[in-house]
């Protein structure tokens, strides 16, 4: 579900505790990644990585001894156990969904719950990443890649017993496009969808205006609403089904106690592979410290932890005996963006110097406890679009200073700050680095950057802004530099962030990156359905950005999860954890009552 929301700007370092948890493979913005823990100081080795058909590459195997806190992470499940049904697990939810209406919901936890309750037409296999049939049994793609005909599964029932058919798909499309439906962020991605037609009760056709390699993903990942529930004259945005969702998914919604918990129950009539766990309780605990205490006292079976908790709390009793810990990479990176409209950052020599002043390896080691990797480009680090042959620019203040001198930024007046005459005016190299408030890790990084720049004759003023204001300032393009992050899909179209047409409204090219050569590459890749050719284009694009350094790309951080040891068969897939694997042995099921 919700794969369509390909890009979403998320709070920098979300994984650090604002708790964007997720193991449901269906929720699109969720983490993915390789299996084995990585000694992550090592930048990804390029020793002949073998990409599979879908281009995801195994995370590199660790070199040398593992850091102590990674020992025992991602334990292999015992393959000889026979799963049994039953049992309840309690998961932490760091913030309550605003609504469980699939179209109007925007937050991560709604995505997580709805990922289990609702289905889309197809979904990616969590290992191979191939599209697997869900509500559609099969699909045909026209020669010109403009129309996608889905043959729907027959005999599927909504949780209330009503049959599912093409009218539901059609209705979902109509509501998505209905301007009175509060789904603006999602609708914005579907501007090129020409229409959805019902061919018969079990066949629908999606028509697209342009050839685009993401069209299958966007059609298949389309969320399907129950028409008979929503279409009863009630206002869609405030519809009671938003508090009581009805889907076709593997779990049924049971109840939602506001400000407390959401409960899901296994759907015994599910058409697909059924989960073993009978009941999931999402318990609302906003505070990280409170949550870890609850986990230690046995009140929680699963939660996301912060890097800090991973290296401190989890090393102490009762965690090693009571919980298994899991570690996998998010489809995410964070970066420092340099606004190219500012006089200092117009020159790529200067931008490269800025990158060389940021000690990414040091930050990764000392602030992020090695729980991530340094990245050099705009794609998910373990996908084939990302070129692992590109090595990050090293941390080299001396070279950076030389580059700055070369670019003409020299301290002429001896005040300790470099300056340069731009358009007849002397400009001091003094800029404001804008960060979202309330993220201590980002603050630490920003402070380090500030200190490093000061030593090289650059004045950095830090500005912490509340998220609403931060976003607005980015959209107004009124900033010098920002630290923030991007969440992505398995596949990623760089158009929205990097194309010059996206500098204006509706786009996410906030730093004003504009380059005809880059535009050409981006446009070439969009109608390219041959994966190998697209990869080639994207490698060129990646190399191009590496030279230009419009961002100082920073880290792909790991998702850190603990699961109570009474839950067996927890497997780390490339898309994270999948609850359908899990089971609780009979003798341990009574822990949470029945």
């Amino acid at each position: 579900m919700r794969k369509a929301a390909i890009l979403s700007l998320i709070l920098a370092f979300v994984a650090l505790g604002c708790g964007r948890s997720g193991h449901a493979p269906e929720s699109g913005q969720n983490p993915a990644g390789g299996g084995a823990p990585v000694e992550s100081t090592a930048t990804v080795q390029s020793s002949a990585p073998i990409a599979d058909a879908n281009g995801l590459i195994e995370a590199p195997k660790p070199e040398g001894p593992l850091p102590e806190h990674l020992v025992g992470a991602n334990p292999k499940p015992n393959p000889n156990e026979t799963p049994v049904d039953g049992g309840t697990i309690v998961e932490r939810m760091a913030s309550e969904p605003e609504t469980l209406n699939p179209l109007t919901a925007t937050d991560a936890y709604a995505g997580m719950v709805l990922g289990l309750v609702m289905d889309s037409l197809a979904s990616r296999n969590p290992d191979t990443l191939d599209w697997e049939p869900y509500l559609a049994e099969s699909w045909d793609i026209s020669q010109d890649h403009l129309s996608y005909v889905f043959h729907l599964r027959k005999g599927v029932k909504w949780h209330d017993g009503a049959p599912f058919n093409a009218d539901d798909v059609l209705y979902s499309y109509q509501k998505l496009m209905d301007s009175s439906v509060s789904a603006a962020p999602l609708r914005n991605y579907y501007q090129d969808l020409q229409g959805v037609e019902k061919i018969d009760d079990y066949t629908v056709k999606f028509s697209w205006k342009k050839q685009y390699f993401m069209s299958l993903e966007m059609s298949a990942g389309f969320v399907i609403l129950p028409k008979h529930v929503f279409d009863n004259g009630e206002n869609f945005n405030t519809h009671s089904a938003g508090r009581h969702p009805i889907g076709t998914g593997m779990y049924k919604f049971a109840n939602w106690r506001s400000n407390d918990q959401i409960v899901l129950e296994q759907n015994e009539d599910y058409f697909g592979r059924k989960p073993h766990i009978k009941r999931i309780i999402y318990k609302l605990i906003p505070d990280d410290n409170n949550a870890i205490l609850q986990a230690s006292s046995g009140a929680l079976d699963e939660m996301n932890v912060t890097q800090e908790q991973w290296v401190t709390d989890l090393m102490k009793p009762p965690f090693p005996e009571k919980f298994n810990k899991y570690f996998y990479y998010n489809q995410y990176y964070n970066y420092i963006g340099w606004n190219e409209l500012r006089p200092f950052f117009q020159d790529k020599t200067v931008r490269r110097a800025m990158t060389m002043l940021v000690d990414r390896e040091g930050i990764l080691k000392n602030i992020l406890h090695d729980l991530g990797v340094v990245v050099t480009g705009p794609f998910y680090v373990f996908s084939d679009a990302y070129d692992r042959n590109i090595k990050p620019w090293p941390y080299d203040p001396k070279e950076a200073r030389r580059l700055l001198d070369e670019a003409g930024w020299i301290d002429h007046d001896g005040d300790g700050i470099r300056d340069k005459v731009v358009d007849g005016k002397t400009v001091r190299f003094s800029f404001t680095l804008m960060i979202p408030a309330g993220r201590s890790v980002v603050e630490q990084i920003a402070t380090l950057v500030q200190e490093e720049m000061r030593k090289s004759g650059i004045e950095v003023n830090l500005q912490k802004l509340e998220w609403a204001v931060f976003i607005q300032r980015i959209n107004e393009r009124s900033f010098d530099a920002i630290i923030v992050g991007w969440a992505m899909g398995v596949e990623q179209d760089p158009y929205q962030i990097w194309h010059s047409s996206m500098i204006g409204s509706g786009g996410s090219n906030a730093i004003g990156f504009s380059n005809p050569e880059a535009d050409k590459l981006i446009e070439e890749a969009r109608p390219e359905f041959d994966r190998a050719k697209r990869t080639e284009i994207y490698h060129k694009f990646h190399a191009f950005l590496h030279e230009e350094q419009p961002y100082t790309f920073m880290f792909c951080t790991a998702n850190l999860v603990i699961v109570d040891k009474r839950v067996h068969n927890v497997i780390v897939h490339r898309l994270g954890l999948d609850i359908r694997d899990w089971f609780i042995p009979i003798e341990l099921q009574s822990v949470r009552g029945q």
Partner: protein, 322 residues
């Protein structure tokens, strides 16, 4: 009172809506700028429609009277975030907040008044000095730190498990009888109430002490002692009642605080009260909720002022209103 209330809400309404950031931009993330965007693009259209949906398309001077008209019929509107009526949201949050705050105010007074009396009567003694030092130490301890210390040592950090780690009730509390429910609730609220209370001992007892010292120097106290009344009667009947006026003044100021809640304490103890509601509403630019909280506080402030005026007359017969 009504003109004052309208004035307060007008100012709040304007400030809140003029503050940078708005709910639509927030929802769109980095996809689009809702106001200064290039006209006519599809995104711009989508954003404008969304603003219309939330009623943000009309100018401010039209929005305020519309909001006020609804308020007159006690309609707070619907939250931008989850589209539920603000009334329902308040109904969920208010009871627990009021319980915590009432307990905390009650505890603060019950402990501070005797402490104040004690330090006035025994001014300068060793026990008075020790009490004062302790109260000031408590006053200066940051509440989030104390909250975590209490949690770790008393509620499940591997030491004593005397109190629950968080929440307002046991998960199965709905099935309890009234007595058991009450005990369970008090047990859950013990730590948060303690955290919200300990800091106010110093201030309150100082007020009480000052008032009391003033009164103890009065002639009628000497007279009372001279006519042979017991020290107990002198202190508690004659002195205390007369020195309680400053405390009453403060009490009225506490009324809006009853629904204000405490963001940090609520978060740490996993209690969903008004503090978090207001805080999150501001962060999300959820105007209807922000305004509802503001109206409640304004009303309670005004009522508090009125109440304290009435209470003066009750406590001190010398004060009369014509």
């Amino acid at each position: 009172m009504v003109p004052t209330l309208i004035g307060i809400t007008l100012v709040t309404f304007v400030i809140v809506q003029l503050a940078p950031g708005d709910p639509v931009t927030l929802a769109m993330g980095m996809q689009g700028d809702s106001l200064s965007a290039t006209r006519g693009t599809a995104t711009q259209q989508i954003v404008l429609e969304q603003r219309k949906l939330l009623g943000l398309d009309k100018p401010l001077w039209m929005r305020y009277p519309m909001w006020l008209g609804k308020l007159a019929m006690l309609d707070f509107g619907r939250s931008f975030k989850d589209q539920r009526p603000v009334k329902d949201i308040l109904a969920e949050r208010l009871p627990i907040t009021i319980q915590i705050e009432l307990l905390s105010v009650f505890l603060a007074y019950v402990i501070s008044i005797p402490l104040g009396v004690h330090s006035a009567v025994r001014a300068g003694s060793v026990s008075e000095r020790i009490t004062t030092v302790i109260l000031f130490i408590l006053y200066s301890l940051p509440s989030f730190w104390v909250a975590y210390i209490l949690l770790y040592f008393l509620a499940g950090g591997g030491y004593w498990h005397i109190f629950p780690i968080g929440g307002a009730s046991a998960p199965e509390a709905a099935s309890y009888g009234a007595g058991k429910w009450l005990v369970d609730r008090l047990w859950h609220l013990a730590l948060p109430v303690l955290v919200l209370t300990y800091g106010s001992f110093a201030g309150l007892s100082r007020f009480m002490r000052t008032g009391m010292m003033d009164v103890l120097r009065q002639d009628y106290i000497r007279t009372a002692r001279a006519k042979g009344l017991s020290e107990r009667t002198v202190i508690f009947k004659h002195a205390m009642r007369n020195s309680i006026i400053p405390i009453v003044t403060i009490l009225s100021g506490l009324l809006p605080g009853l629904i204000g809640g405490a963001v940090i304490t609520e978060t740490i103890f996993n209690v969903r009260g008004m503090g978090q509601l207001g805080y999150n509403a501001v962060l999300a630019r959820d105007y209807p909720v922000i305004m509802a909280v503001a109206v409640l506080s304004a009303v309670l402030t005004l009522v508090g002022i009125l109440l304290s005026d009435i209470l003066y007359a009750v406590v001190d017969p010398r004060i009369k209103y014509d």
